[in-house]
């Protein structure tokens, strides 16, 4: 098991290097490279920031040296300073990270605990009314632009019904609330963003769990379980489910990039004070150090998600654990 985790960790190193290379390439993709950002696209940049940027990228040196310098800075999470307010990029990201993590973890949990039962029940009762209804839901889920759904829900719950707040993480008078009021306030602010950011994943994972379960139900060991004389419930919820979970767990880890990517839209729409909104604002303001920082951190989070998925995978599948 330890060996397996170690192997996974080692495997992440080339991936990490690759991520930094691509990010580096993207910076130099802009016409004229980072040098051009200083003058052409961002006229607001101060002279001081220009000088700092110059030294940050070592723009006078050859490319591979520039990359190496940049990489050593990255390893210390030194992304430089924001063009906008001169604060350290890493600090700006760190203060936004908890909100993003809260949103994503809740979304993942929601996806898992709603999509999984839906998929399993659909598979067990294949072609039933429930299954057909869910298939329609899944198709709609794949096809609805989530940001549009967000608008509609804001319109319905926020504007027409007035039940839920439509932006931010707290109400204005948040500091004066008691603990329980604070909690309730945050929950109310969370409902729409969590639902919207989970929405795509919900459809996808329900479909996937259904497929996975159908596949498992066809397996010989399910027939063996029945042949033993086990009641159908135990056959399904003990023998089949454990096996169907294996690919689903992996997928959950892999759905992290989509969740984080979606965050850039949803956090913006709901004015959620997370990393995604920071990234979006940075993009709109062409605040390159922040864009870079957010990009690298987002990729890191994805890698972390993959690692967690790999470890969970080993937990649910003894064929990985004991090789």
């Amino acid at each position: 098991m330890l060996e397996y985790i170690a192997r996974r960790l080692l495997f992440m190193i080339p991936l990490l290097l690759g991520i930094t290379i691509i990010t580096f390439v993207v910076i130099h993709l802009s016409p004229g490279g980072p040098a051009d950002m200083l003058t052409g696209l961002s006229p607001k940049v101060s002279a001081e920031a220009k000088a700092r940027l110059h030294s940050l990228y070592g723009l006078d040196k050859p490319l591979h040296v520039q990359y190496w310098l940049w990489l050593t800075r990255l390893m210390r999470f030194d992304f430089g300073e924001s063009f906008k307010d001169g604060r350290l990029v890493i600090m700006k990201i760190l203060e936004r990270l908890p909100a993003t993590l809260l949103l994503n973890v809740l979304s993942l949990l929601l996806i898992f605990f709603i999509a999984l039962p839906i998929g399993i029940i659909s598979a067990v009762r294949q072609d039933s009314f429930f299954d057909k209804g869910m298939t329609v839901f899944v198709f709609l889920g794949f096809s609805v632009p989530a940001f549009w759904l967000a608008l509609l829900l804001m319109l319905l719950f926020g504007v027409f019904l007035g039940w839920l707040p439509i932006s931010g993480m707290h109400s204005v008078n948040f500091p004066y609330f008691s603990f329980w009021e604070k909690l309730w306030d945050v929950i109310k602010h969370l409902i729409l963003p969590v639902f919207i950011s989970a929405f795509g994943g919900l459809a996808y994972l329900s479909r996937y769990s259904r497929t996975s379960m159908l596949e498992v139900l066809r397996q010989d060991y399910v027939r063996t379980a029945r042949a033993k004389g086990l009641p159908e419930k135990k056959v399904i919820y003990r023998h089949a489910l454990r096996n169907a979970l294996i690919p689903i767990v992996t997928l959950l880890g892999l759905s992290l990039p989509a969740l984080i990517g979606g965050g850039f839209i949803f956090e913006t729409i709901f004015a959620w004070p997370g990393m995604g909104r920071l990234g979006y604002q940075a993009i709109m303001a062409r605040d390159y150090p922040v864009i870079m920082g957010v990009g690298v951190i987002a990729a890191l989070l994805t890698l972390l998600g993959n690692l967690i998925a790999d470890i969970t995978y080993a937990f649910v599948d003894p064929r990985i654990r004991y090789r």
């Binding site: 010989d220 027939r223 063996t224 004389g229 086990l230 003894p318």
Partner: protein, 328 residues
């Protein structure tokens, strides 16, 4: 002991109905090993599965017929009652032990599950463990304690099949259905498993339905044989009789395609006695020929074979054949 009466089973595939078993009957006597032989796709596995009502509802169903176990029709039992027979008094083992054992549970767990399910004396967990070890020793596992803690993928094919057998025997069944129990295994292991099954059958007084495509296995283990072709039984007799006086052309064909013991050893140099294969192919089950289903491949076919399926007739005492030309 067990009697299958006029069983008809249908499968649905791609909107078509396939008749997998047509009017199949057989009787299994106490303490006997009954062989069911036929090429793949002839319906022999379907027969095994339908005895325990293990055919998935979406794929097919028993249309008519009876399966009597001690006078009770298994097809008419409530689910609850069926579960007291399935895996308890009638156990089954399958062709491929690797896919038949659940990969995510330890083998000991899987055996314990059966033990708990059919636990007659309310064993404590300690006793259960002892019982698992006893069962694993019964099927001649070298290190029962290690095996118990292993996951299926850590065992070899032969060991996996032994675990399957141990699991099947955990409820102390009266009948064991073995569906091609050695087909997926290496040749050397096949023999070990077969010997084990024969020995256990005698020792425990089991009645066994052994399903196979291999007449060699039948010769070694079975007292009686039913030969199946295209979803129907075409010949039935005691083993000795079948081997020395096969009456159905299909049975003859099967036997001729089998190397005899001496030849198998010396790799026949005699060109005249080469192994004969039956010409033609097993018919498409969704598009069966008329009359005797074997007539398109039969060397002795006559016009009368084509319009109507022959009845099963007793040509010699206790030797039944479904061929109008048998005994000519």
């Amino acid at each position: 002991m067990l009697e299958v009466k006029n069983l008809w089973v249908e499968f649905y595939k791609g909107g078509k109905i396939i008749q997998a078993l047509r009017d199949t009957s057989l009787i299994l006597k106490r303490n006997e090993v009954l062989g069911i032989v036929g090429e793949s796709g002839c319906g022999k596995s379907t027969l095994a599965l339908s005895i325990l009502k293990l055919i998935p509802e979406k794929e097919g169903k028993v249309v008519s017929g009876k399966i009597l176990f001690k006078g009770e029709d298994l097809l008419r039992l409530s689910d609850e009652k069926l579960l007291k027979i399935r895996g308890d008094r009638i156990s089954i083992i399958f062709q491929d032990p690797f896919t038949s054992l659940n990969p995510v549970f330890r083998t000991g767990n899987q055996i314990a599950e059966s033990l708990n399910l059919h636990n007659k004396q309310n064993l404590s967990s300690h006793q259960i463990e002892k019982e698992i070890i006893r069962l694993l020793e019964l099927v001649k596992m070298d290190k029962p304690k290690d095996t118990m803690l292993s996951y299926p993928h850590q065992l070899s094919g032969g060991m996996q099949q032994r675990v399957m057998i141990a699991m099947a025997l955990s409820s102390d069944p009266e009948i064991l259905i073995a569906d091609e129990p050695t087909t997926a295994l290496d040749v050397t292991i096949q023999k070990e498993i077969l010997n084990l099954l024969t020995e256990l059958q005698k020792r425990l007084g089991l009645s066994v339905v052994l399903i196979t495509h291999d007449f060699g296995i039948v010769a070694q283990t079975c007292q009686r044989v039913s030969v199946m072709y295209a979803g129907i039984i075409v010949e039935e007799a005691v083993t000795w009789e079948i081997f020395h006086n096969p009456l159905h052309p299909y049975t003859k064909g099967l036997l001729e395609s089998l190397p005899s013991r001496e030849e198998a050893g010396s790799f026949s140099r005699d060109e005249k006695r080469r192994l004969k294969a039956i010409p033609g192919q097993v018919p498409d089950p969704s598009n069966l020929p008329s009359g005797c289903k074997f007539h398109p491949r039969c060397p002795k076919v006559i016009e009368e074979c084509k319009p109507q399926e022959p009845r099963l007739r007793e040509i010699v005492q206790n030797h039944w054949v479904r061929c109008i030309r048998a005994g000519d």
